[in-house]
């Protein structure tokens, strides 16, 4: 079900002319002959457009920092920003010491007018003191919201003074919502802070177990990382830390001892992955634990990296066992899903990851895109040198790290590295275009208007996106699946997750509720209706 350039022009014709040109660059019709076509991404959304995008604060505190359970995360700003990131993202966490699990807490300086006028530094300092007195956390983060930068509060100075007072790390993040063009800026800011202040702060020099790894860009939504950990532990890996789902300051500070970094959501965390490679010589491997094939491939690639025949064999055993177990279930759901089409529009990586799982269920993704991706997420990492940074991304500071004189260790010889790179995605991720068929569409920062228009044109059977467009789409009679929050289900990662996802998607198709949309009186003219003896028409 392809779309033509003319149809696309027709949709865009509704926009003011400048916006027309702008949006055109964010939309690509995939064409196999062209390979990766350039797409514009990570640029500002036009004012007035109903976008799904959030802000830097959401990306920093909401996405990356929030899941770290043994830290208290203070939001410095008026109340709203903190309130909306309280328990709203389903990043689950459990702890052996529940008094040090703060995942269900929300702390805000709740700035008032006087704080805006006279500055909020003193209040922030007091709130930090109160947090210490009440909770004794191992570490604290402070995230700034929009007004903070404008009134010139120096949160770094407040944090530094608090560190001296309390003797624990207090990390400040200047992630004001107006920075950058989306959540993406906040991911980067959070990455820098964690790399700078947390990772490597522990004194472990070596991992205690075999095949020590970190899992980066995995936020344990709906318990995803617990399912991934189940599989990895079964194979024999030691998971040093997860960034940041069910993560902790305690684990993160020793993350430098891992021998390999797995990168699940590369959009939100590739910065740390790269810096870890530079600083400690630890390579990173792009993984995708969404879908049976994605999971199996990732496991095989990991085994290849370590190259231990026993590990490779164990990996195959686990894959074989798991696949045999879930195949009948998947087959059953596939019958419901086969031949259907999907739109897949999610944040930064899932817009790509879920296409594989849809494919395994026989569902073709005809339109996909990301809310806050960069060009490399569409076109592949090779495009990075060509990306021009504009004023909006220039204001996100780059953190420059160097080889750690004591802890840097080449994990593989350069030859071995080169050999592996040819076979597995080491320090590399492909763009989503590689998995999209001829004639399908990629749309960056898809907005409400385009959502409606593309749906009318392509009539997908399911729409995978977030909460803000879910009910818009369902009103049209099309099932909508939240891929950010999983509609409160999950896990969707790993082998068990694939089955859960298949079950939930099938449920969306099979639900009898769709049959009631049209009332019977709309289908029968009033005058021809006759009533027989039983009172039934």
């Amino acid at each position: 079900m392809a779309i033509t350039e003319e149809q696309l022009e027709e949709i865009l014709a509704k926009y003011p002319s400048k916006l027309q040109k702008n949006r055109k660059k964010h939309i690509v019709i995939n064409n196999a002959d062209c390979g990766a076509q350039p797409i514009e991404a990570n640029t500002r959304t036009a004012p007035g457009i109903i976008t799904n995008r959030g802000c830097a604060y959401a990306g920093c505190k909401g996405v990356v920092l929030g899941p770290l359970k043994d830290m208290i995360h203070i939001t410095h700003g008026p109340i709203g920003c903190a309130f909306y990131t309280w328990g709203a993202r389903r990043n689950k966490a459990k702890s052996d010491d529940p008094t040090q699990n703060f995942i269900n807490y929300c702390v805000s300086t709740d700035m008032q007018e006087s704080d805006i006028v006279f500055g909020g530094e003193k209040k922030l300092a007091k709130v930090i003191d109160e947090v210490m007195e009440n909770f004794h956390p191992k570490a604290i983060t402070v995230s700034a919201t929009c007004p903070v930068g404008l009134i010139g509060d120096d949160i770094n100075a407040v944090a530094k003074a608090a560190e001296e007072r309390h003797g624990i790390p207090v990390l400040a993040f200047s992630c004001e919502g107006y920075k950058g063009v989306s959540q993406s800026a906040g991911h980067h800011i959070a990455n820098n802070g964690l790399m700078d202040r947390v990772i490597g702060a522990g004194d472990l020099e070596q991992a205690s177990g075999k095949y020590p790894i970190n899992i980066l860009g995995e936020y344990n939504i709906g318990g995803d990382s617990w399912e991934i950990e189940r599989i990895l532990s079964d194979i024999g890996y030691q998971i040093v830390s997860v960034m940041t789902g069910d993560g902790s300051y305690e684990a993160l500070k020793n993350a430098h001892v891992a021998e390999l970094n797995l990168v699940q959501c590369h959009r939100s965390i590739n910065y740390i992955a790269e810096m870890l490679e530079i600083k400690y010589g630890t390579p990173w491997l792009k993984v995708n634990f969404i879908g049976v094939k994605g999971t199996s491939d990732s496991l095989r690639n990991m085994a290849q990296y370590f190259g231990d025949p026993a590990l490779i064999q164990r990996t195959e055993e686990v894959i074989a066992r798991e696949v045999a177990r879930i195949e009948p279930l998947m087959g059953q759901y596939k019958k419901v899903c086969e031949g259907k089409t999907a739109f897949c529009f999610v944040g930064g990586s899932r817009g790509h990851h879920y296409q594989g799982l849809f494919g395994e269920l026989g569902i073709d993704t005809v339109l996909a895109g990301y809310e806050f991706a960069h060009r490399d997420d569409y076109e592949g990492r090779e495009v990075i040198p060509d990306i021009k940074t504009d004023a909006d991304s220039k204001n996100i500071p780059e953190l420059h790290v160097e080889q750690d004189p004591n802890r840097f260790k080449l994990k593989l010889s350069p030859e071995k590295m080169a050999e592996l790179k040819a076979k597995i995605p080491l320090s590399y991720y492909a763009g989503m275009h590689v998995d999209m068929k001829e004639g399908t569409i990629m749309v960056d920062d898809l907005n409400h208007y385009e959502t409606e228009e593309f749906i009318k044109l392509l009539k997908p059977d399911i729409f995978a996106s977030g909460i803000k467009d879910k009910y818009v789409v369902q009103k049209m009679g099309i099932p909508a699946k939240q891929i950010h929050s999983y509609d409160y289900s999950g896990p969707y990662a790993g082998f068990n997750g694939a089955v859960n996802f298949a079950r939930d998607v099938s449920m969306g198709f099979a639900s009898p509720t769709w049959n009631f949309i049209v009332p019977p009186w709309k289908e029968e003219p009033l005058l021809t209706g006759t009533v027989n003896e039983e009172g039934v028409a």
């Binding site: 007035g48 309130f83 699990n101 702390v107 929009c146 009910y471």
Partner: protein
């Protein structure tokens, strides 16, 4: 659950909040603006606020919440957002074609000090379309204040006294309640034979039916002619001081429409007060249908009083709702032990009175004592409960953490409720709403009794 919360209360004087019982103004303004027919709320600020507000409203209502944003970048934050708003207005009318754009500000644009009326004046607005605005600095008040401010702006922008004599009609400002409540208040008013204009009115907007078609501007909402005509009504009834009285006062000032502020009609007394006000104003007697409903309610209250009499309850949420619930649970013979709102108690000079005084008066009258707090947070409420346990917790979804931590029966009321459905369709106002509250309260208490009963004490009839 919440294992880091101690029983010992350490004084917190910073003004910071742990586990808030309020959120910020713009979400209230956005919700109010959805109660105007054909209106697109617009958030003037960076994208994040708008995204958060839409997310939260959507989770509460499980319906599309459409709103646009000025999408500030750092440049706009430094140089002002005039250009952003102008571009936004042009684009919105061209692409989304609402009748009205209702602009509200955010912390960012308030801090910069963007002059919204001036920007609107110099914007391109198509013939017959309108742009209205309200200021919603989140460092003042709460989401309830934002609702109140946008409602007041409706008066400022629309209300006109165009007839020499006031019309036999009443304006009803329902407050920050669910569309189900608004529908019920309208039903009561209709049954009282009083012609009315309700504003804002989100029924038919955020509880729109499934038709197989998406409508950007659903059927519901107060229409522009109705909003204008509010200036001609002979009376305004503001339901809830915090959410509604400012707009009513403004209407009095602007168009000489006398205003009365009543409690949100939650429970028997407050509903009686609403009907009595309408009865006097329209010299129209209460129809048997309503008298019957009231009688049924009293019948239920009496027949089941032993389900709830003497039970201790903690209540939190928005001030108008909490006041109503507190009064009603006392009518049931329950004892409010802790009563808290996150919303500050009414700004100096505003017509809004003190929440703490209101509640104190209620419990004093009954010769009771309670912990009462405005501008409080759920950390405080939790510590209170640890020190003085209760039998029941009533509040919004966020109460579920405390309910689990303290193993309390929990009734979800107010905004937001994100972990249960149907609540936005069903009223808690009026006599029927009171019946529903009783059903929820006694259901929660009796389920608990059942759960905890030994086999031999497990009752079939209760």
């Amino acid at each position: 659950m919440l294992d880091a919360t101690t029983k010992e209360i350490k004084e917190r004087a910073s003004g910071g909040v742990i586990n808030p019982a309020k959120t910020c103004q713009p979400i209230g303004a956005m919700y109010a603006a959805l109660g105007i027919h054909g209106c697109l709320p617009h958030s003037h600020g960076s994208q994040g606020c708008c995204s958060f507000h839409r997310m939260h409203l959507t989770r509460h209502f499980r319906d599309p919440i459409m709103a646009s944003t000025s999408s500030f970048t750092e440049g706009a934050s430094v140089f002002g957002g005039g250009a952003n708003l102008k571009t936004a207005i042009k684009t919105i009318f061209q692409v989304y074609n609402p009748d009205i754009i209702a602009v509200h500000t955010t912390c960012l644009t308030e801090t910069i000090g963007d002059d919204i009326p001036n920007i609107i004046k110099t914007s391109e607005i198509p013939e017959g379309k309108m742009v209205i605005h309200t200021n919603t600095p989140s460092y003042v008040g709460s989401h309830v204040t934002g609702f109140s401010n946008m409602t007041k702006s409706m008066v400022n922008y629309f209300a006109e006294a165009t007839t020499p004599l006031k019309k036999e009609q009443v304006n009803i400002i329902p407050g920050f309640v669910n569309p189900g409540d608004m529908r019920e208040i309208k039903r009561l008013t209709r049954l009282m034979n009083a012609p009315y204009i309700m504003f804002p009115d989100t029924s038919g907007v955020v509880d729109s039916p499934m038709t197989g078609e998406f409508q950007m501007y659903p059927k519901g909402g107060t229409t522009q002619p109705e909003l204008i005509d509010t200036g001609n009504s002979k009376l305004t009834i503001a339901l809830g001081r915090f959410a509604s009285s400012d707009a009513a006062e403004q209407l009095d000032k602007k168009c000489k429409v006398p205003a009365v502020t009543l409690k949100a009609p939650i429970g028997i007394k407050a509903t009686d007060a609403l009907l009595m006000t309408l009865r006097r104003a329209f010299v129209s007697d209460v129809p048997y249908e309503l008298e019957e409903e009231r009688g049924q309610l009293v019948d239920i209250m009496t027949d089941t009083h032993f389900h709830f009499h003497g039970k201790k309850v903690a209540i939190f949420g928005d001030p108008d709702i909490v006041t109503g619930i507190t009064e009603f649970v006392m009518s049931l013979g329950m004892i409010p032990v802790h009563v808290l709102t996150g919303t500050p108690g009414g700004a100096v000079g505003s017509v809004v009175g003190s929440f703490e005084e209101d509640i104190k008066e209620l419990v004093d009258q009954a010769g009771l004592k309670a912990n009462i707090k405005a501008a409080g947070d759920l950390f405080t409420l939790h510590q209170w409960i640890k020190n003085e346990p209760v039998d029941l917790l009533i509040g919004n979804t966020y109460g579920k953490y405390i309910a689990r931590a303290e193993d309390l029966p929990f009734v979800r009321v107010g905004f937001p409720v994100m972990d249960r459905s149907v609540h936005s369709y069903m009223p808690i106002v009026g006599y029927r709403g009171a019946m529903r509250l009783i059903e929820m309260i006694s259901g929660a208490l009796l389920d608990r009794q059942d759960r905890d009963a030994a086999d031999e004490d497990f009752e079939l009839v209760m």
